[in-house]
Symmetry: C2
Subunit: 162 residues, 2 copies
Amino acid sequence: MKMTEGVEWTAHACALLAALPPGIGLPANALAEFHALAPAYMAKHMQALARGGVVESVRGAGGGYRLARPATDISLWDIVEAIEGAEPAFRCSEIRQQGPCVTPNGDFRKPCEIHSAFGKAEMAWRAHLKSVSLADIATEVTRKSSPQKRAAVTVWLQEKLA
Amino acid sequence: MKMTEGVEWTAHACALLAALPPGIGLPANALAEFHALAPAYMAKHMQALARGGVVESVRGAGGGYRLARPATDISLWDIVEAIEGAEPAFRCSEIRQQGPCVTPNGDFRKPCEIHSAFGKAEMAWRAHLKSVSLADIATEVTRKSSPQKRAAVTVWLQEKLA
DNA sequence: GATATCGTACTCGGATATACATTGTCCGAGTGGTGACGG
DNA sequence: CCGTCACCACTCGGACAATGTATATCCGAGTACGATATC
């Protein structure tokens, strides 16, 4: 069970966007450059994020991507949902209803126990992700980073936003 | 993010094994037949389960797979670990250490906030799975199933164990 | 000098190849049971 | 009639294809900015 690395890329990109003044965005190229990632592939992931309603896209010169909502209203789960989709990792294909021992009048209204257990586990997982907002991450990052780092980011941003 | 369907197959197979008398097993063919699954593929998954120490394999005529421990000591997580591996779904590749703004004396001893958040979420997920044992599932299944179903299973088992 | 218009550069968006993991299948290795043979 | 041995059927184990999904890239569509020509 492996999560797409696009989730990591876009999560970091959104954290960067969350550190910007509200309403300000960056093009996909800049977002990729900030973490030394493949620009084209990053662009593709940002498209998914736009389709998911996490970011808004602005075309044309000076355009780019910006957060669609305040950073406090965007959780890590929103990003995962936009990139990976909302389907659960464990998909019950109801194999209990197959085989030589299934009775014709079998009652399958009760949920599959295995399905139920995995469903509960996944709900706990999602709840954790929903409880972490971009604002949390952004503040943690800016607060913990060194003054040199913050200065370097400021210079880089001024160049990109000019 | 999708979990291998082998997890579902082996989980149901283990539930069946847990319903058997202690020490008794079934060949992979029978386990596949019980849920109308591809025999060869089921065999492959059972091998992974054996490597993971969840079941023991017995070769030769009359052999098969049986639980390596009491059903109360086997959790759903043990099965997931055997099939999917213990690696977390979210793998942090530390992209925060890349890019034009990383300072030479950057201090990365503090864990990545995004990595940390996903790690906590995944731990909650695992904890849920670890709390559900095969015994729980087996008893739920046998208790909830209809008498006709139980009779059909008994007949089928007598044929297979003969 | 101000304004309307055209061109250009920049950015997103989707369509298109490639690599890798999962899915699916097969044949060889090993083991217990069974029947035949000899005592 | 009983014990031993060889054979055979059964089962696991790993090696080998086929398929699907994630990865990676490119080119076309659309928009804002700026230069230019005109009034």
